[in-house]
Symmetry: C2
Subunit: 143 residues, 2 copies
Amino acid sequence: MTALSSIEKLCVERGMKMTGQRRIIAQVLSDSNDHPNVDEVYSRASNIDSKISIATVYRTVRLFEEAGLLEKHDFGGNSARYEEATDDHHDHLINVKNEEVIEFRNDEIEVLQRKIAEEKGLKLIGHRLELYGIPIGDDEKGQ
Amino acid sequence: MTALSSIEKLCVERGMKMTGQRRIIAQVLSDSNDHPNVDEVYSRASNIDSKISIATVYRTVRLFEEAGLLEKHDFGGNSARYEEATDDHHDHLINVKNEEVIEFRNDEIEVLQRKIAEEKGLKLIGHRLELYGIPIGDDEKGQ
DNA sequence: TTAACTGCAAACATTTTGCAACCGT
DNA sequence: ACGGTTGCAAAATGTTTGCAGTTAA
């Protein structure tokens, strides 16, 4: 018997019906350290079960996201990308030269954000902070 | 002769060929104080010239954006929304109860962002900061 | 057993594009 | 006159959905 992935464990706790496809997708996502989009999840899942359907991947990542197991991002504006939801909040710094996503956390910024919202009479319930950068030095010699 | 809209003025300065459609779209965008999406720009432009095509609106906002005259946002993740680019940078605070977009500027956050990128060896070339909030008090009585 | 899930293909929404006609300079 | 621009409809892209068959519990 294979060990349960961290996402599958949470699915079980929530009483979700666990099919073979969901188990595979849960595993793929738990094993990912990057921020794959649906196509990437689909291709990784296909390596395990080649007859999984992309519609199932879409339905499943949505299900997981709605259950709070995944976070959905839309860096760049093309396809949505996913990562396992964890208790530790972080934002993202994207190296636009190679699409690499670096996670970071800055409490000073968090505090300022809450203050800004309050000044406008709003209670902060969410935010999106993405930084886009290029390797230092790369800008001097153009593209 | 009608006064040139601020966007049209910049188009002329850049030597763009100014057609009737472009003039109308420039005017619509200059006159907008909100952040319309392509459909909204299209419908406002249609009120002036009912036979303008949505493909032209798409082509034109892209042209303007690439010329640095417009800023493109994708709040929410549905369709892209546009606003006239101005010299004063700002970010957005969205009241999720009514979709209202409040602009704000916070230099402290800007400085911190640059610092974070540099710590990871990147030069900051852009960022996206959106805050989402609800009116203070609304959260106590649920939805 | 049976309600929920899957695969497939079709539908969808947004955006882009090929092409012939058109227009600004 | 000519090259860029437009309108139309078709294509492309990412995502959702209807339906008939399958499966977990």
